[in-house]
Symmetry: C2
Subunit: 597 residues, 2 copies
């Protein structure tokens, strides 16, 4: 991956550059965050011409390393006002890696008042910026089908939907599924879909025709590493194979997907429900991964191969964990939505008090079609409930509200896409669960303090993936669970945040973490594959901390202080049932996470 | 004024305290800002129980000093997240001063989920916290009439309307007019009406029965000072008498009110119109102070004493400037709205492209009735126009949108009360004219740079009254106009900000500034009256800077940095017709205003 593609949307020009020395070992999040920190004016408006949109496939994308095809996108976030990296599976990382592209940097915007929409088509040694007004203002299911017809080489596609085109802060960056025209792969968080919209870009289409598999510098080490990691993943109970040798369900993610967590968190009393007012939800089991597993089995039994149902498909080429599901209608066997992740089922179900699986699936499908981050959209819907416009538990009411978002002149439709903080403040809500303007995900920080420390201190705004201490506090590492109620979590969160930043750069899916934390051979497999690919030894923590340093520098220059590293007041004053605890981590402990950085 | 009344809304208790030594010479803004900085936790949520609402009559309120009856209210602002002081005329300052109250400090809130509404009745040595559910959810014209019937002693009333009761960020603190039941006196800015709403207080009713005129420490100096100031005010062309000796219109404010500025700013090309996209407005003359003057004259001619029309009435007892107007319907002679100030006519007219006087008057009346700050509400309506929900210039459309605010379940109705930034962000607008979350008033900072420096650097969020450099840059001081386009405005803005803080503490109306800047005898009259009242010499600038220091300390502790002392990006990148200039003041110049503070 030796090239950088620079695009200037103010004059629709582009140019190619060699990867400069300073970015030599940077890819994925390491690349996007370095570029954003170096090149984006920190005080620029995130939805005007001075922001940039940066794309980078993870370091090992396109290689045979297992589950290494993640794509990072980065920009100044319209949701947080700070730096943002979001990553997802899909096809684009693979396609870009194969045609040697380390990153795409999109600057500028068409002049104010411009009505045209564009798509960017990237091929080997070739880039076109095409006027595609016929791609705009369309649901994404339709759009991706159309693009795959217009470009019949199964290109990777990322872009923004109606929400991003209207500069809404819930807008994610969609990616297409590997095997169908569903817009199910989201680099969802931070409103980066709106940044694409502000540049009047609907889609970025990556065609790898004529490309080749990237070559490791030290092939032997790379191969040794990737095989060791693969082996470790296959035998781990979270990431392992579908069934054990005796035919029983084995790998948790393959059988139940990420939504295996629904019942676990409910049991732990850390499942935020009804707008973060309880840690338990009566309806959890009905929308859990187990419920989807059962529905898939039933539907397959009834419709055989015709059933559009699955609980073990891959979100990107080469993924061995295959945690994605496809939720069918039981009556017809046809697909309702794919995937239904834990965070989505939580945001659009649990947190709204909605325990009806197909209401939740429908909300998720609408989010996918509109181009919305499910976590932010779900939390935004919770604000509409908290503010009295919809009742908690009213699935049809929530669906109706979300459908308003297609309309161009509905105040409700805009509000529902505007993000948790904006909608909450518009409705006079004083229990707005955000950090740095971004909504909290599916783990309540009151009974599980480490994840609260991550929410508060990550550069990203509240984000579980930035330092997933849940692995230690709920699931356990090497058989030991760290007390979730303990308050000394600065070191734990920092270690997770640094390692995560490293993983987000490699292209590996974060879910390898379950395995590499438990299995030293797996960890060494990961580092060998990365170091073998680069032909040099890099230190996981140092590399990760360098990324965080760039991100913290950007945020500081954008006006952030330690006061932004705090949870909302109500987490400190309203105890959460059933454990009836508040978030008692001191400010000093929060500030200790990145002391001196 | 020797007493402080402390109220705790969590248990509906109250207690009286003597004024402590440290607050001895503090009143008005000096008092509210000192208390907020000392007692409010800077990171508290502005609409939850840990915020406080502080009330203080200006130092000379209740005395015969001319135009000295302003009331300050203060809190952490839900609009800016920083400290806030807003002040207004009305009756309350007079009433409280006469019963010896220096300040009222309201802490706590009824428990979450409480449905009851309260009013606070303050009398000489007596305070009642009364359950008044029948006062809630009412238009303010009706409410004030009702309160004056329930308390037939013409009490001062301040409180919040429907907007504040629903915790909307456009909510101002209303005050009643001296002579009728109109809610025309607003301590409008910063959303402080919502702070009252969060404490479930509808009204604070001040009855001065049995009270007395406050006694100056040095009566001779006080009397000398107030008389000199009065004399200077009377002869100044801005603040002077209605007609000159030859019967011609003389005093600008008495004849045309604050809205005399409409044509002046239009002429200067600094009148922001159509969402800060031009510095001129075709319809300006039709909604100007001159137009109101003419309408009043016509109506009086037709209906004589029955006409509810005026262009020279006082907003508080003892005001000699009498700049308030009462806009009648020409056909019936009945009152449409009172007053129609420059900022309101601009926000609800010019900036929306609405040049129809009675559309603007109707919007203003609706704001008064709902309990909305006209500047914030007008800018919020502009966001609805910028975002495509209403067309610029559509008066009936704007009126219809604002009427939605009475409904409890209208998303549009909430949006229209939610403040410029929230509404703008909900609608994907990237030209949101706010500083620290508060909307800009009626002077474009691009052609008039000093006021831009004030907008950017004041502790209050964009606020012309915080340092009204327009006096120097447009109107001129002692015959000299400071070039509005010059960039070295740090010192000018700082001097205005310090003097303003002093005036806001004294109870004097800020409009004495026109006179005291031009007339050294007037200035000495002001200081003599204050120093005579206190019986000690205080320095105007030192006293003012001490107030600003408290305010800046609070904001810093709430997480503000110099990055918050900036105008939105579009003022730097979009030139304003007709002068086609951008806001070119450097960040260094902005930071120079309070360097080292």
């Amino acid at each position: 991956m030796s090239k950088i593609l620079r695009i200037d949307m103010s004059d629709l020009s582009h140019k190619w550059e060699a990867v400069p020395k300073e970015y030599e070992i940077l890819a994925g999040r390491a690349f996007t965050s370095a570029v954003v920190n170096k090149e984006v004016e920190p005080m620029s408006h995130p939805l005007r011409e001075n922001n940039m949109f940066v794309i980078s496939p993870g370091l090992l994308a396109g290689t045979p390393a297992p589950s290494s095809g993640r794509l990072s996108v980065g920009a100044k976030s319209p949701l947080t006002g700070g730096i943002k990296e979001a990553n997802a599976g899909g096809l684009t990382a693979d396609r870009l890696a194969r045609i040697g592209i380390r990153g795409i940097i999109i600057d500028g915007a068409p002049s104010r008042g411009s009505k045209d929409w564009y798509s960017i088509v990237v091929r080997k040694d070739n880039c076109e910026i095409v006027k595609t007004n016929n791609y705009a203002d369309k649901g994404l299911y339709e759009l991706i089908g159309k693009i795959w017809k217009d470009y019949p080489v199964k290109p990777g596609i990322i872009g923004c939907g109606i929400a991003g085109q209207r500069l809404m802060k819930c807008a994610g960056v969609f990616g297409n599924n590997p095997e169908n025209t569903d817009p199910g792969r989201y680099a969802g968080r931070g409103g980066l879909g709106a940044v694409l919209g502000s540049k009047r870009i609907v889609a970025i289409i990556s065609d790898s025709t004529g490309g080749e598999i990237p070559t490791p510098k030290d092939k032997e080490r790379f191969d040794r590493g990737r095989k060791a990691l693969r082996e470790a993943l296959d035998k781990h109970p979270v990431t392992g194979k579908l069934t054990s040798d005796d035919g029983k369900p084995f790998g948790g993610l393959k059988n139940y997907g990420t939504n295996i967590l629904q019942n676990i968190l409910n049991e732990a009393g850390g499942l935020p429900s009804m707008g973060f007012s309880s840690g338990r939800f009566d309806g959890a089991a009905k929308i859990s991964g187990e419920a989807v597993h059962e529905l898939v089995d039933k539907t397959k039994k009834k419709f055989g191969d015709a059933a559009e149902a699955s609980y073990a498909h891959a979100c990107h080429p080469g993924c061995v964990m295959r945690c994605s599901n496809a939720v069918p209608y039981e009556k017809t066997g046809k697909l309702h939505v794919s995937p239904l992740e834990y965070e989505s089922a939580w945001a659009l179900g649990t947190n709204l008090g909605i325990g009806v699986l197909h209401d939740v699936a429908e909300l998720n499908r609408l989010c996918n079609d509109l181009g919305l981050d499910t976590i932010e959209a779900g939390n935004t819907l919770a604000m509409l409930m908290e503010g009295g416009l919809i009742k908690y538990g009213d699935g049809p009411g929530a669906i109706k509200a979300l459908k308003e978002a297609y309309s161009t002149d509905s105040a409700l439709g805009r509000l529902v896409c505007s993000g948790t903080q904006t909608a909450g403040e518009a409705l006079g809500v004083t229990r707005i669960p955000v950090v740095k303007g971004q909504a909290l995900p599916a783990y309540d920080p009151r009974p599980i303090r480490g994840i609260g420390v991550t929410y508060a201190t990550t550069t990203m705004g509240a984000d579980h993936t930035a330092g997933y201490t849940i692995a230690a506090e709920i699931l356990g590492i090497k058989g030991t669970v760290t007390d979730p109620r303990a308050l000394n979590k600065a070191e734990l969160s920092r270690a997770f945040q640094a390692t995560t930043a490293y993983i987000d750069a490699t292209g590996y899916c974060l879910f390898i973490a379950f395995c590499i934390l438990d299995d030293d051979d797996g960890f060494k497999g990961m580092t060998d594959s990365v170091n073998g690919f680069l032909g040099k030894d890099i230190d996981v923590t140092e590399y990760g901390m360098a990324i965080l340093k760039n991100e913290r520098a950007f945020n500081k220059n954008a006006g952030f202080t330690e006061k932004d590293d705090r949870l909302p007041e109500f987490f400190r004053t309203e105890p959460l049932p059933p454990h009836n605890v508040t978030f008692d981590v001191t400010d000093a402990e929060l500030d200790a996470v990145f002391k001196g950085m």
